[in-house]
């Protein structure tokens, strides 16, 4: 599973940081998505990432399997 982020289309809703805080954050400068790491550091991380993708309103967060 590869996590792809696109800050250009991100609208800064914060759903990724809310859903999977160990994986995603928002930039201080413009609020857009920041990927913190590309491994899955804990059990259940994959589920959290999938849920973050589902909740992302703009399509800025995608998965490539």
């Amino acid at each position: 599973m590869q996590i792809q982020t696109d800050p250009e289309i991100c609208v800064g809703a914060g759903m990724c940081a809310l859903t999977a805080p160990d994986m995603f954050d928002q930039s201080e400068e413009d609020g857009t998505v920041v990927l913190l790491r590309d491994d899955l550091p804990y059990e259940g991380a994959e589920n959290d990432v999938r849920e973050a993708v589902e909740r992302c309103p703009s399509g800025a967060l995608r998965l490539a399997d």
Binding site: A13, G14, E29, E54, R55, P57, S58
Partner: protein, 402 residues
């Protein structure tokens, strides 16, 4: 105008058979016609969507426009024919724009509404909630949860964030209430709009000479927007920032007081609160006027031909009751995984202030439940007046005792 065979021939019904559920006809439509014809009160022949999956598809489809000039008032009201987004509202109302105009305004604000920034406000939100509880104790019991707690709390939070003097609270709340009330005469709507934009213009002008640590100061000094745009943006933030949270606070408490088993579970285990906030947001979906989109080209939606310019209303309350997505959807279940609800909409216009709203609701509910272990309605539940005549749903007042 009569349209036989069209179940919604005069916009959305305002009356609800059960105050906590959307009008029954919309639930019936979902199973029969997930996209159904609806004649808006101004005569426009458009559509209404009640299906969760379809709503999500449409809300991210860039062929659908959010332009204000394509929108129509969805509830019957004297002002349905008159209101003109372009003429009557100041510029900067980016919820009624498409990219790239929408992008420009939203980008100016996103860093100020991040989850991290909002979490930094929690200690202050807790102080504000505690002050309101103290005021309720001085006054009662009984007290009115709407005007003694919910509105003052959410107004004070948004005033501090924007940099609007809290002393102007009663004046802008009265005007905002007129804007949202379907029974307000059209000329009164314009008067209320004039009052609020006048107030915001005055506040913005003061920020240049007397800057503060607030969002309006930041926008004024950024040089990115002119005065009219600044007023328009602040109007959107102020009205959206206090009306929605205030109504969700009081309607949420009303709902819990009507469901003593669910309330008891929540009182017994405060770790359920975060999920309960999502569940109440889902169940109550106070933006009962929905959101509107219009195709910029002719298209087929679930096999139904929809012409360019025909407005499609996404009825958010019904989408959140779709049993395909939320089993047993009409039941309040504070342990449910309600994430994925469309209460804050979806797509690029999803609510900018949603993380602030979540935190205010969590603090507000937690404070009330902790401080008033015996909180109860001071009138029979059926006598609580519901906001059927307002574009944001809720209770007009909520007499409580403790």
């Amino acid at each position: 105008m009569t349209h036989t065979g069209c179940p919604l021939s005069n916009g959305l019904p305002t009356h609800r058979e059960n105050p906590l559920d959307p009008p029954e006809i919309l639930g019936r439509l979902r199973s029969e016609q997930p996209i159904a014809p609806m004649v808006f009160p101004d005569g426009h022949e458009g559509w209404v969507v009640t299906d969760y999956a379809l709503a999500r598809e449409l809300l991210v489809d860039s062929r659908l426009s959010s332009k204000g000039s394509l929108k129509h008032l969805a509830f019957p009201s004297d002002r349905a024919m008159d209101f003109d987004f372009e003429k009557d509202l100041p510029p900067g109302q980016f919820e009624h724009m498409d990219p790239p105009e929408h992008t420009r305004y939203r980008k100016l604000l996103t860093s100020d509404f991040t989850l991290r920034r909002m979490r930094r406000l929690v200690p202050r939100i807790e102080e504000i909630a505690a002050d309101r509880v103290a005021a309720m104790r001085r006054k009662g019991p009984p007290a009115d949860l709407v005007h003694d707690f919910a509105f003052p709390m959410s107004s004070e939070v948004i005033c501090e964030l924007l940099g609007i003097p809290v002393e102007s609270r009663e004046s802008f709340e009265a005007d905002s209430s007129k804007l949202l009330n379907l029974d307000t005469a059209p000329e009164e709507v314009l008067g209320a709009l004039h009052n609020i934009t006048g107030l915001l213009g005055k506040v913005a002008a003061q920020k240049s000479s007397d800057p503060g640590d607030d969002l309006l100061t930041k926008l004024v000094t950024s040089g990115e927007v002119d005065e009219a745009e600044l007023i328009g943006m602040s109007l959107l933030l102020l009205v959206a920032g206090h009306e929605t949270t205030a109504n969700m606070l009081s309607l949420g408490i009303y709902t819990l007081l009507r469901e003593p088993d669910q309330l008891a579970r929540l009182r017994a285990d405060e770790s359920l609160l975060e999920g309960a906030v999502e569940e109440l947001l889902r169940l109550l979906t106070i933006v009962h006027i929905g959101v509107q989109r219009s195709p910029t080209e002719d298209m087929e939606i679930r096999g139904v031909p929809v012409k360019a310019g025909q407005t499609v209303l996404i009825h958010l309350p019904s989408t959140n009751r779709d049993p395909e997505r939320f089993p047993d959807p009409d039941r309040l279940d504070v342990t449910r995984r309600a994430v994925g609800h469309l209460t804050f909409s979806h797509g690029i216009h999803q609510c900018l202030g949603q993380q602030l709203a979540r935190l205010e609701l969590r603090v507000g509910y937690a404070t009330l439940l902790r401080e008033f272990p015996d909180l109860r309605l001071a009138v029979p539940a059926e006598e609580v007046p519901m906001r059927e005549n307002m574009t944001v749903y809720g209770v007009h007042e909520l007499p409580v005792a403790w």
